[in-house]
């Protein structure tokens, strides 16, 4: 159990619902993999658009909806999307994701900070997607966001924890939860993030685009749990040379 954004949650695996082959998998992930937080995006729907189905209809009512502001190019657009999200869901959880560049999808820290300042004042539970930048993370903590969501590597790349030396200081120094978001491609990457002391991970592509999203979500759920448990126990130090596991004396005679 852990507390985040005013909720008590059991699962530290948050799942993004983009690219899923079938929205009915969401309910299965909730019941069978124990996922409680689902990220969703706001897009145009209806005439002249690709989208005709509303993903909210598929999210169990006790699950937490995290509205992602993806598609926003600046803080004004992000704030508008958050407002629309709250209007539609009554959920005040918002993931602030602002990107100008579409090749790497790197977050714009300056615009993100401005959006978060406004949204915290508007009473949202704010979860900013950021570079692993300790200074920015501390600024965001100061203004009252619920957690920071630094990237492991660029969105959808499956490259895993590409910058441990930058992430670890954030985990060590900020007091709010740290959710590693983006780039995690395998359950072992998620376990690594949790062993490092992350409070949660958010996975989308690695689950949604796998051959069997439900079973992959279950694999991630176990990895997240294993990594967290190991972190709580305490990961041992590495040694340069072998350290015998069996006693090195009283051998039987030859």
């Amino acid at each position: 159990m852990f507390e985040i954004g005013g909720k008590i949650l059991k699962s530290r695996l948050f799942v993004g619902t983009g690219k899923l082959p079938d929205y009915s998998l969401i309910e299965k992930m909730y019941y069978e993999a124990g996922v409680e937080v689902f990220a969703v995006a706001v897009r145009r729907i209806g005439p002249n658009t690709r989208h005709t189905r509303n993903v909210l209809e598929y999210i169990p009512k006790d699950a937490v909806v995290m509205v992602n502001t993806s598609g926003a190019q600046d803080h004004r657009e992000a704030v508008k999307i958050a407002m629309i999200g709250r209007e539609l869901t009554n959920s005040d959880w918002v993931k602030v994701e602002i990107e100008k560049d579409t090749k790497y999808l790197f977050p714009d820290g300056f615009e993100t900070l401005k959006a978060c300042e406004i949204l915290v004042k508007e009473g949202f539970k704010v979860f900013p997607y950021i570079y692993p930048d300790l200074n920015l993370a501390k600024e965001l903590e100061q203004i009252g966001v619920e957690a920071v969501m630094p990237l492991g590597s660029p969105i959808g790349t499956n490259k895993g924890i590409g910058c441990e030396v930058l992430l670890k200081p954030i985990i060590n120094e900020v007091k709010i939860p740290v959710i590693i978001d983006a780039g995690i491609g395998r359950p072992s990457h998620a376990a690594q993030a949790m062993e490092m002391g992350a409070d949660a991970v958010l996975i989308n592509t690695a689950i949604a685009t796998s051959a069997d999203p439900l079973r992959m979500a279950m694999a991630f759920a176990k990895a997240v749990e294993a990594g967290r448990l190991a972190f709580e126990v305490g990961i041992l130090k590495e040694h340069e040379y072998a350290q015998a596991s069996s006693p090195l004396e009283d051998f039987i005679g030859g």
Partner: protein, 64 residues
């Protein structure tokens, strides 16, 4: 009367609620912006669209 809906021009006269029903959308699951501003659900029945209005209908889709 001509309005723009999600980037396409459309012949329409009536309120926001009538527009949503005419394009077969469930009003429960949509939000509507007119000329960039969110219009609250409780105003949809009385909000009459004007010639040249730009309407965006949004909802939730899968996202990360």
């Amino acid at each position: 009367m001509l309005i723009r809906v999600n980037d396409r021009e459309m012949e329409f006269c009536g309120t926001i609620m009538e527009l949503l029903l005419s394009v077969n959308l469930n009003p429960e699951t949509c939000a509507v912006l007119v000329n960039g501003e969110i219009v609250k659900k409780n105003e949809w029945e009385s909000f009459v669209l004007k010639d040249g209005d730009y309407v965006e209908i949004v909802s939730f889709v899968g996202g990360g």
